[in-house]
């Protein structure tokens, strides 16, 4: 055994880059902002972390996640930040002659130019197509550095929402709602016999009969309560 590295507690130090459970970087754990997550060497910083003076520090309150060599923090709570390609449900908050301003639950309203709208309208006729206060199912087309975003309604299934109900959950609970490969959401749709479309911004369009909508709402409420109970301290 001479010269062979034996896995002992004193061998598993950060300096030796041991990948065992003693290496604190690799074990998922709850961290708070400013907490030291170890040496930067051999790692890349993902979201929720920052590299300062060769050390990795958490910038958010959440759980660490190591994916290959990338270390990140999954925040417990976060605001929705739009990304290109996101399917979102928005409310029209205002319009000009050729642009709609859409509230997509992000820090900034998105714009929907008439050229990307659902139907052709004359210049100045935006309100005849989608009026203020109406809900739309749209997709984020572009996000600028300054967080301005453009949404589009050109695409399969993108439409003005004329029926059903819209429910809102925290965006970080969407994964729990959808489940692995969409299994949980599929089951929910089958059981309630409702059309349920989940927007990445945490808004859900539920379209079906009264009993089905009520069932989906009840399930959403219980899921939120479960998530709160599963999070230590009940602050999901």
């Amino acid at each position: 055994m001479k010269g062979v590295l034996v896995a002992r507690l004193d061998n598993m130090t950060e300096k030796k880059n041991a990948a065992g459970p003693q290496d604190s970087q690799r074990v998922p754990r709850l961290v708070s902002p400013g907490e030291d997550l170890g040496d930067l060497e051999g790692y890349e910083v993902g979201h929720g972390v920052i590299a300062i003076d060769g050390r990795i520090r958490a910038t958010k309150n959440g759980q660490t996640n190591v994916n290959g060599t990338t270390i990140s923090v999954e925040p417990r709570r976060t605001a929705y930040m739009p990304r290109p390609g996101d399917l979102v449900i928005g409310f029209v908050e205002g319009c000009t002659n050729n642009i709609w301003f859409v509230d997509i639950g992000a820090p900034f309203n998105a714009i929907l130019p008439m050229s990307l709208g659902p139907a052709k309208a004359d210049f100045g006729g935006t309100r005849s197509v989608i009026d203020i206060g109406e809900a739309i199912l749209c997709r984020v087309q572009e996000v600028e550095e300054t967080h301005s975003s453009v949404v589009t309604m050109k695409g399969m299934g993108l439409r003005k929402i004329r029926s059903g109900a819209i429910e809102v959950i925290d965006p970080h609970l969407l994964g729990r709602l959808i489940g692995k490969q969409g299994q949980a959401l599929r089951q929910l749709k089958e059981e309630s016999e409702c059309r349920v479309i989940a927007g990445e911004n945490g808004r859900l369009w539920i379209d079906g009969d009264f009993e089905g909508t009520l069932e989906v709402r009840t399930r959403l409420r219980s899921m939120t309560a479960e998530a709160k109970a599963a999070t230590p301290g009940g602050v999901a």
């Binding site: 958010k60 605001a79 820090p107 300054t146 967080h147």
Partner: protein, 239 residues
């Protein structure tokens, strides 16, 4: 009776509330107390009772306050009219404006504002019950609430004040010590690096006394930071 006339510490170094010179008043922290806010924290520190709530990031209005390269922090520190024995006239006054300003400047040094250009983050600090050191409690509670809201920060801020009573330097002044003491030194400390983001001084301290007060604040900040971290991980402190 004037300054220095009130006996606030005995010959054995025991203060009028039974604490020793370096002791901190009891602390409790609760998160998520304002459901409609993006993040919130209620902090009880001695008889201080403070709620901090965070809203945003949101679009900054009016547009003239928008910064193209970063977010702006809109901090509002307010004492409830019933928070002290003498009723406080509701609304902003010189003191609350000053505390709002210094709190915003302290928080700006840890919040990663450059990630949210043109946005605004609203920080509301409401003093429900005031004893002494409300600016310290407000700043600490705001930093915990920001972390609860998922706003990226390079560190938490722990703020604590030490001061001088009857020529003795003590940590974390209570109401009578604050009113009749000779000096106080509130500090905002980044516990993970030991850096300072906020410092004020009221009264006079010699260099040695200043150093002693500094050391008390630093040591207290490390202990309070542990409470804050536990609260962030479990939702409340103590359990």
């Amino acid at each position: 009776m004037g300054y220095g006339d009130v006996q606030m510490i005995d010959a054995n170094g025991i203060r009028n509330d039974g604490r020793k010179a370096g002791d901190v008043r009891p602390i409790s922290i609760e998160l998520g107390v304002v459901p409609v806010a993006d993040g919130s924290c209620r902090m009880r520190w001695g008889n201080n009772d403070v709620i901090a709530a965070i809203y945003g990031p949101m679009e900054a209005h009016p547009r003239k306050i928008q910064r193209q390269d970063r977010a702006v922090l809109d901090v509002r520190y307010n004492m409830a009219p019933f928070s002290t024995s003498d009723r406080i006239r509701p609304g902003f006054n010189r003191r609350s404006r000053e505390i709002s300003k210094v709190t915003a400047e302290a928080l700006e040094s840890v919040v990663m504002l450059e990630l949210y250009p043109r946005s605004k983050i609203r920080v509301e600090i409401e003093i429900i019950c005031a004893e002494a050191g409300t600016r310290c409690v407000g700043l600490t509670a705001a930093s915990i609430a920001l972390a609860d809201a998922g706003i990226p920060m390079t560190d938490l801020i722990v703020s604590v004040a030490s001061g001088k009573i009857n020529d003795v330097v003590v940590c974390d002044l209570n109401k009578s010590e604050d009113n009749y003491g000779e000096a106080d030194l509130p500090m905002g400390i980044l516990p993970n690096t030991g850096e300072l983001v906020f410092l004020q001084m009221d009264g006079d301290l010699s260099p040695d006394e200043f150093q002693e007060a500094w050391d008390y604040n630093m040591n207290a900040a490390m202990v309070i930071h542990e409470y804050c971290v536990e609260a962030l991980k479990t939702g409340r402190y103590p359990q």
